[in-house]
């Protein structure tokens, strides 16, 4: 079995995650170079100018040009990071959803301390929901009298998606703020009660992964683990039919 997790970034199975990872690597390379270079300078300075008999401090220090260049350089590099990486990546992540006709849509409704996954079924339309219908057997409050709800499927903590297919997830919360986090997908989005926010992703590998909650949501925050299973289209359909 492939090793997904370790010390450092988890494996990335998303189509968009490589860009994020690249930014993280570039950033850490930049930070390492800057810090190590600077640390060497610091150590040399500390040794060279230590107090010792016969050594005197100099009153008028020269005006150094190098630090100014360094500061300007850091500023320019940060501008480059913004324009070259962060803006385009985040724009893609936030503003460019996959076409709805090619994507699978799913609603994810978080609660203390579980993920309710709502699939629209074959018609692709989510049935109406009503908070007054919520019960242990019907965690999202699906209105079964709505024709669109007939083929809808809800699961708890089981998010299955087909591989190589874009998924649009409509995220909301029933009670407090949760944060939908798929470590291997480089997806994280707060779920604010009273609002629906969308996120999307496409898996390029199959496997059993997990959903984590990234925002403190109460005493069960630590165990708000969901299962994120990426499988072939056929297996996915089979699973859906099973769930019916």
């Amino acid at each position: 079995m492939e090793k997904y997790y370790g010390w450092g970034l988890p494996a990335d199975i998303s189509t968009h995650g490589a860009a994020i990872d690249r930014l993280i690597y570039v950033l850490h390379g930049f930070m390492a170079v800057l810090f190590v270079g600077w640390l060497i300078f610091l150590v040399i300075t500390l040794v060279r100018f230590r107090a010792r008999p016969g050594h005197q401090a100099v009153y008028q220090s020269n005006h150094f040009k190098a630090p100014t260049y360094l500061e300007v350089g850091v500023g320019l590099f940060e501008a480059f990071l913004l324009v070259g990486f962060s803006f385009p990546i985040f724009h893609q992540y936030r503003n460019v959803p996959p076409p709805r006709d090619q994507a699978m849509e799913v609603r994810i409704v978080a609660e203390q301390f579980a993920w309710n996954i709502h699939y629209p079924g074959d018609d692709g339309i989510f049935g109406k929901t009503d908070i007054h219908l919520i019960s242990p057997a019907n965690p999202v409050g699906l209105d079964r009298s709505d024709p669109a709800a007939k083929d809808d499927i809800t699961t708890v903590n089981q998010l299955h998606t087909p591989v190589h297919k874009p998924v649009i997830a409509h995220l909301s919360s029933k009670d407090v703020i949760h944060s939908f986090f798929l470590p291997v997908m480089r997806v994280k989005q707060d779920m604010i009660p009273g609002q629906t926010v969308d996120t999307w992703f496409e898996a390029k590998k199959m496997g059993n992964f997990e959903i984590a909650c990234a925002q403190l949501c109460g005493l069960g925050h630590y165990r708000m683990r969901g299962f994120f299973i990426v499988e072939t289209e056929d297996k996915f359909k089979e699973w859906i039919n099973q769930m019916r």
Partner: protein, 102 residues
Amino acid sequence: MEHATPEAIKRHVKVYISVFVALAFLTVVTVIVSYLKLSLVYAIIVALSIATIKGSLVAAYFMHLISEKKIIFWVLVLTLVFFLALLITPALTGLEIRSYVS
């Protein structure tokens, strides 16, 4: 307001009275306008403009800002900048939250 002679103070008193009259007048105006049933946008513009004028009168004359020292202005300008940032930014970010659910 300089530490002035009794005569100067007496002049100030006259200013205070006229400011008071202006404030009372503007209060009545803003209430009358509110009965005109303007559309919300115009109502907001008119009411807040009048309130700003009234507020400025109070600040300028009763609080003596019109002749206040520079140091006070610096404190207030700084405050005003952050005040405005605080006032509008949350609402702006709120408008940007998006969902594609129909």
